[in-house]
């Protein structure tokens, strides 16, 4: 008996090395795809894509999609969907315009009110989904119509603007430069270097810690290569932006949120519980997880992030229009699925959703530069979404 058991274990171990590599390839596959797409457009646009001006635009254009993708990822991982985020973006943008432009309110209390309203919208929808058990698809489809209508009525069918310059800074501002070097924002470059150094430091520390407890780690060469590439990308990216106007404010907000949500999903109990809830709601509930409250909270979170996106978008356009946010939900949901989230819940990563958002963003941007019409852009984006998810499904089938 004993020899048989140890044989069995040995046999399984050999097999697991193969699957170890396979799972890690899946982790980086999407990143590789993003880099390839960027390289493709860089060549096709004759270098326009990575010009500092265009790179800055790329970030400004995609920030609100990325921010919403963070919330959407949690909703999707919990096994739900939120179709209303586009309408909420429009509604909150409209609300901000009414408060700031029409009533002359200071932008700080107005921003807080808008975020709270976003949270309340999420709570209202989350209540229906979590406690009344109405399918989220239906609840948020209703929400989509309701808030689209409310936006129209709030703005009286007209555009309201412009915002005061201080509010515009939210999306069009850049972090101030402490040094005066001609044509280069040294602060921005330094921030990039510090970020890269911090990432390497934390990566190295966790690796040492893992090795101390004899956890299997990636080969050292691979670790060095990965970190070198990461440093190169971050510092290169910061340098390119520094040669224009430095790091945009919204990039800092976005980066902080991505880091926060990556941490919450990977390392905290609440993150773990959301994955468990999406993976098997019944088992999660029988393990003592308050599944209803958790579902409710993911929607509240989504509402707040949609409100933030709404503020950024309004600040970027410098006006609130009834059409703001139209179709955003599709880009946000597509970003999550391109990034490897499962439509059945329980699977998905923050980094994946962010990469997915940038895949969509780079394609939008690149195709626009190339002068491809909006009609064919939609077709191509749709096909890329289909291809990405098909590749994921195929991969999963093969490894099962």
């Amino acid at each position: 008996m004993d020899t048989r058991v140890s044989d069995e274990i040995a046999g399984e171990k050999r097999e697991s090395y193969g699957s170890f590599l396979k799972t890690h390839f899946r982790d980086y596959g999407m990143l590789v795809a993003l880099l390839l797409i960027m390289a493709f457009f860089q060549v096709m646009t004759g270098g326009t894509l990575l010009r500092p001006l265009n790179l800055t635009n790329l970030i400004l254009q995609n920030s609100y999609i990325v921010i919403m993708a963070l919330g959407m990822l949690l909703v999707i991982v919990a096994g739900h969907i939120d179709l209303s985020v586009g309408s909420v973006v429009g509604f909150v943008g409209g609300l901000a315009a009414v408060l700031i432009v029409k009533f002359g309110m200071h932008y700080v209390p107005a921003t807080i009110i808008c975020l709270v309203v976003g949270g309340l919208i999420g709570a209202a929808q989350g209540y229906w989904v979590a406690y009344l058990k109405v399918p989220s698809f239906i609840v948020t489809l209703a929400g989509m119509l309701v808030f689209k209508g409310l936006t129209l009525s709030l703005l009286g069918g007209q555009s309201v603007g412009p915002f005061p310059p201080t509010f515009q800074k939210l999306s069009s501002g850049f972090i101030p430069d402490a040094f005066s070097v001609e044509g280069l924002s040294l602060t921005s470059l330094l921030l990039g270097v510090i970020t890269a150094a911090a990432l390497v430091y934390f990566g190295f520390r966790s690796r040492v810690n893992q090795q101390k407890h004899t956890v299997e780690t990636a080969p050292f060469g691979f670790f060095v290569f990965k970190n070198a590439l990461l440093c190169f990308l971050i510092i290169g990216f910061a340098y390119l932006l520094a040669t224009y106007r430095g790091l945009p404010n919204v990039l800092i907000i976005m980066f902080a949120l991505v880091a926060l949500y990556a941490f919450v999903t990977n390392r905290t109990t609440i993150g773990r519980r959301i994955y468990a809830l999406g993976g098997n709601e019944k088992a999660a509930k029988l393990s003592g997880i308050k599944t209803e409250r958790l579902t409710f909270l993911t929607f509240v979170n989504m509402g707040v992030l949609a409100a933030l996106a709404g503020l950024i978008f309004a600040a970027r356009l410098n006006t609130a229009t009834p059409k703001a946010g139209l179709g955003f939900e599709l880009d946000v949901i597509a970003a999550c699925f391109i990034g490897g989230a499962s439509a059945y819940g329980g699977v998905g990563k923050v980094t994946g959703a962010v990469i997915g958002a940038f895949v969509m963003g780079v394609m939008n941007n690149g195709m626009s530069i190339l002068g491809i019409g909006i009609d064919y852009q939609q077709v191509i984006k749709g096909l890329v979404l289909l291809a990405a998810v098909t590749a994921d499904v195929y991969n999963k089938k093969k490894s099962a």
């Binding site: 008996m1 274990i9 390392r267 109990t269 468990a276 098997n280 999660a284 029988l286 003592g288």
Partner: protein, 517 residues
């Protein structure tokens, strides 16, 4: 040699030298099996011995060319490309997980994919008449338009068989048909097999329940680690269960239940007047004023037929996860405790290991580590942040202690065998450090070797001073493990036996007597 005897000796099915390899694994290695016409041929072996793979080769799920070896059916070599090919010849397989559509009627299910239609229009009166005739053959009295979801698992199993009959079955393959049936439903099913045998239909019966096999099988083929160990002829000699087990595990199993000296202490858990109503039908009382207690270090069993309300009792106790309008008191160490949510029940030291580990026990997509810590994440976290290293140590500890066979703690639980999955669920609840463990069918669908390991774990828990409540439909298991056995029938506890005075007959007697009132 006279005609009938030679016919009897004729093999309807012969599989010779079947070898099937998956990448890296030889699932079947030169397997031989011969099924005589009109016999019940049992196929036994531990989980992973290759029974299901062999049946998939036979039914065409793994088409000709993906295996080596020869399949002869009714004297001719057959090369099945898919299931339709084998079904055409009358080889019908009924899987453990039933393939019925719950929201369609019995009649629709029976003729699913085989609709009795002319020009695409279904002839319903013909279908209903046919269905009635088929249902009569399997002993079902349900109306043909009853939805499948409205009948019990036992009857659903019979619908599957009726469906097989509608396809002019010659060889019926049943994969663990009685796994989720109670004894009377199981008996009915086995009698049906005997009836089919009288009509000349051969069957292959895959089962873990060796008592059933000894009851009906004409011959037994034993598989172990993908090879044929032996074929036993039940008419030449009497085959005991121990004899079969010896073939399956490759060694004599001295005792199926590990020995334990009970050291029963004081009363730690008590339930008084526990009553619960059906979650959908508010007027249906399913648990009727139940009173029971568990002592420290004691293993207490609840025996009863399927539908007696045992799982309902357990789940209503555990955070009111079943039923509505629940009333009664729960005492732990003499003090009343709140079990109204799962969180509170767990905090008060109660754990419930579900009867259905795939649906209610595991996050199948997640690895062993994440499943083990799920019910007690605080135990591996500082404030809200999970400490990876501590979590890993906990998971590794339980993997070693409970001998969870896996490549490491990062293996997805969906890829584990039933026994190892059950160990993961047990680990999860052990890590929550309960005082009372309610185990609902803890060995369902688990092979003999793994069962013994689970029993050992349960014994160790009792020795560690926990109170264990064990619900099981396998009476020998309760008799072998428990210090005291309650008998439940129609929502009420109707009897209590100390281990020494309990026997299968006395328990059945109590149930039958209660049923007459």
């Amino acid at each position: 040699m006279n005609g009938t005897e030679s016919e009897c000796m004729n093999a309807i099915l012969e599989m010779r030298g079947i070898t099937k390899t998956f990448p890296g694994v030889k699932a079947l290695d030169d397997v031989n099996i011969a099924v005589k016409a009109g016999e019940i041929h049992a196929l036994v072996g531990e989980n992973g011995a290759g029974k299901s793979t062999l049946m998939k080769v036979l039914s065409g799920v793994y088409p000709y060319g993906s295996y080596t070896g020869e399949i002869r059916f009714e004297g001719e070599e057959r090369r099945f490309r898919d299931i339709a090919d084998s079904e055409k010849l009358g080889i019908i397989i009924i899987h453990q997980e039933l393939a019925l559509v719950p929201l369609l009627s019995i009649a629709e299910n029976i003729f699913l994919g085989n609709e009795q239609a002319r020009f695409g229009v279904i002839d319903w009166s013909f279908v209903f008449a046919q269905t009635k005739a088929l249902l009569k053959k399997v002993g079902l009295k349900e109306a043909p338009d009853t939805l499948v979801t409205d009948i019990g698992v036992g009857k659903q199993q019979l619908v599957e068989i009726a469906k097989a009959l509608s396809k002019k079955v010659k060889l019926l393959i049943l994969d663990e048909p009685t796994a989720s049936l109670n004894e009377s439903d199981s008996d009915a099913l086995l009698n049906l097999l005997l009836e089919f045998k009288a009509q000349g239909i051969s069957s292959i019966l895959i089962s873990h329940k060796l008592n059933e096999i000894s009851k009906v099988a004409d011959s037994i083929t034993v598989l172990r680690d993908g090879t044929t160990v032996e074929t036993l002829d039940c008419h030449r000699e009497a085959i005991s269960e121990d004899r079969i087990i010896r073939g399956m595990v490759g060694r004599a199993m001295a005792d199926r239940y590990p020995h334990r000296e009970p050291r029963v202490g004081e009363r730690i858990f008590e339930v008084k007047d526990w009553t619960a109503y059906h979650p959908l039908h508010a007027d249906r009382k399913v648990v009727k004023g139940v009173n029971f207690h568990i002592n420290k270090g004691e293993i207490v069993g609840i025996a009863g037929l399927m539908g007696a309300g045992r799982t309902e009792l357990a789940m209503s106790l555990f955070g009111r996860t079943w039923g509505q309008n629940i009333s009664g008191t729960v005492l732990l160490n003499g003090r009343e405790i709140d079990t109204s949510t799962v969180g509170r029940a767990v905090d008060n030291g109660i754990a419930y290991v579900t009867e259905d580990r795939k649906t209610y026990g595991l996050i199948l997509e997640e690895d062993i580590r994440k499943n083990v810590t799920l019910a007690n994440l605080e135990g591996v976290a500082n404030a809200l942040v999970i400490d990876d290293i501590r979590e890993m140590a906990v998971a590794n500890d339980y993997r070693g202690k409970l001998r969870i066979r896996s490549s490491n703690i990062y293996q997805q639980t969906v890829n584990l065998s039933g026994g190892n999955q059950q160990k993961v669920v047990l680990s999860k609840w052990l890590f929550a450090d309960p005082k009372i463990l309610i185990l609902d069918e803890p060995t369902r669908g688990i092979d003999v070797g793994a069962k013994y390991e689970i029993y050992t774990i349960i014994n160790n828990l009792a020795d560690a001073g926990k109170g264990v409540l064990m619900i099981s439909s396998e009476m020998p298991e309760l008799l072998g493990m428990c210090d005291r056995i309650y008998v439940m029938n129609e929502g009420a506890l109707i009897g209590e036996f100390a281990a020494a005075e309990a026997s299968q007959e006395r328990i059945m007697h109590a149930i039958v007597k209660a049923g007459r009132h």
